[in-house]
Symmetry: C2
């Protein structure tokens, strides 16, 4: 008898529906309550925001929610900036919610850019083992990228986004009217992710951006509405097919492997989007060198990026070998070779036998970097 | 145009299969690798344990995993005890895993009692946004209760289990041979949850425990195997039907509302299981007073608990009013009235119009407490 075992099978098969709606338009903060009506959110809500955004839009959102019958039971406003994306900030936000005796019948309104969305989403994912949250992105980067996809998390001294959860928002409300107050460099940086979406999945979006560039920079609400919605749709289609980082979702990393190396070498003093733009230039050249992408299209994208005002080359003193070393620390490195996703043509990424990831010898990358950077 | 909005629907409907197997038997640690063979776990593993358990069984598990081809890339052994269930310990464990460069292609082996399972599971839920974990419970309480169900989390100064996640293990391996080393009071405390399972769902289990009580206390491996497996099956059936705390899962809280009040009043100096046993006695009387449970069955269970060696009444100096006040802080309080789950007959809980929760006036509870406690 003592050698036999007993087994109990726990059967947890289920159908999950985490679907949600992204609404894009002007003056949406004021209409928040109406837009959330069918989302079955509880009455009590906590607003999580940062010191850059809350003074501008906090009261607007608060009043809109209260007018719609919600009770704003807590507000947690932390210091703006990536440096706040820590365990300490998470604990501080949680304690504000606990102080207010927020129970499971409550939700979180995340009002801000990527850092606020990541932090508020992660708090929502683990507060009392999970409560709903809604994204109110206030930067272009958050609207076209980070508020869609369900990735939440924080940085640790070991690196970025190392602790977190996949937790989908109940809704994303992108008020393009808020983009008027965004500093020019942040706005341009956010547009880099839009160019990325165009290159990886939507040649028409690329044409649209080229034609409408002046009106985009002038922050014409009508054009921004179209632009943001189109970007959300691209990201949504990718996330729908690959929610938890299987293969397809990798294409969203275009420009990010070398971009992230530049960002790290610059000690995060450069805006993420600017580094991604550089990464797209470098990785585009790599795609051409490997014979995956035509020289003509590669040049077309690069020329557009330069005209748009992105730097054509980083200003780091670091030798290219250093950037190579930084790519090796990348989460995406496999068996010593670093994995890239590379364009095949404008709007479509190369897909090999193993999927979208292309393992590239460091020597090839080094050659490209030395050619562009001259060091 | 500026008054119109654009919407993008993100469709995230999917079928999820979080099913897993619980294996119960003697000498299972040594056979861990074989038992995990079909679980598709990656090669690299981190063992998370505490200073009470690791010295006894850590090396056995480590050797068994290594013999099966796994690479034990990290070990995180924290100070034993509920006081370790903190954000600080979570961060410390994560940093050990990050130091060892553990990537997403890794899993966590949780070796210990409830605290280890809760902490290791919560780390697994959020490390790089989630990696697999396996429970190796070493206490009776963990085997019959906390290792099954997917609840993970930690305590904060505001209270217990306030931050956490639902994260299902890939497998639970309950080696009943380990129970031989458990202190007698911990063993008895763990059995309280087994009595609870019997009362809420399984009259036959109650009969079995009564008949086999001596052999249970003697820790006969064959009897313990049957006992643990039966308890896991009960918990599994409840969790299968109600994974995330809808209605049915409430029945697992029998004895826990007043039990938790006693535990809090005693400042956690009493073992959880002992408080639950007291809670079952108090709440059993409440069920009788409210006309839900027959006096005969209520007395039968109470007599068994007393003979089994559980205290019949708490030794707290606190007036019963204080216990009432502590129940009001309970997560389960609704609109001022505290919600209880109460037996209808041995093996079946009362279910009303609103479900299993019964909202009870404080005056009724106070009357019961004063009758038993005389203060």
């Amino acid at each position: 008898m003592t050698d036999s075992v007993e087994t109990v099978d726990v059967s947890l098969r289920k159908a999950v529906d985490d679907s949600y709606r992204i609404t894009v338009g002007p003056a949406l903060l004021e209409r928040a309550a109406g837009l959330l009506q069918d989302r079955k959110l509880p009455k009590r809500v906590a607003i999580v925001s940062d010191t850059g955004v809350y003074p501008l839009y906090g009261q607007t959102l608060r009043r809109a929610l209260e007018a719609g019958g919600y009770e704003v039971a807590a507000e947690a406003v932390f210091e703006a900036g990536e440096a706040s994306k820590t365990r300490t900030t998470k604990a501080w936000i949680e304690d504000r919610l606990l102080d207010a005796r927020l129970g499971r019948d409550a939700w979180i309104a995340a009002l801000g850019g990527g850092v606020v969305g990541d932090m508020a989403g992660f708090v929502a994912a683990t507060y009392l083992r999970g409560i709903p949250f809604v994204q109110f992105p206030t930067t272009l980067l958050a609207m076209v990228d980070s508020s869609v996809g369900g990735k939440t998390g924080l940085d640790t001294p070991h690196g970025k986004n190392l602790v977190g959860a996949f937790w989908q928002p109940r809704a994303v409300i992108a008020d393009v009217g808020l983009l008027g107050s965004l500093p020019a460099d942040q706005f341009l940086a956010g547009l880099a992710e839009s160019v990325k979406h165009a290159v990886i999945a939507d040649a028409e979006l690329f044409a649209f951006m080229r034609v409408e560039w002046e009106r985009i920079l002038a922050r014409d609400p009508g054009v921004l509405q179209v632009l943001v919605a189109r970007n959300c749709a691209i990201k949504a289609r990718v996330v729908e097919q690959d929610e938890r980082e299987g293969d397809l979702r990798k294409i969203l990393n275009y420009g990010h492997t070398l971009g992230h190396a530049v960002e790290t070498a610059a000690d995060y003093a450069e805006l993420h989007g600017m580094c991604v733009a550089l990464g797209m230039i470098y990785e585009g050249r790599l795609a051409e060198r490997l014979g995956l992408w035509s020289s003509g299209e590669r040049q077309e994208v690069e020329a557009f990026l330069r005209q748009a005002g992105y730097p054509a080359v980083d200003t780091l003193a670091a030798d290219s070998e250093i950037l190579i070393r930084l790519t090796q620390a990348d989460k995406k490195a496999r068996e010593g070779k670093v994995e890239y996703v590379l364009p095949q043509r404008l709007g479509a990424m190369h897909r090999g036998e193993r999927g979208y990831g292309v393992r590239v010898d460091d020597a090839e990358v080094l050659a490209v970097l030395r050619e562009i950077r001259g060091r």
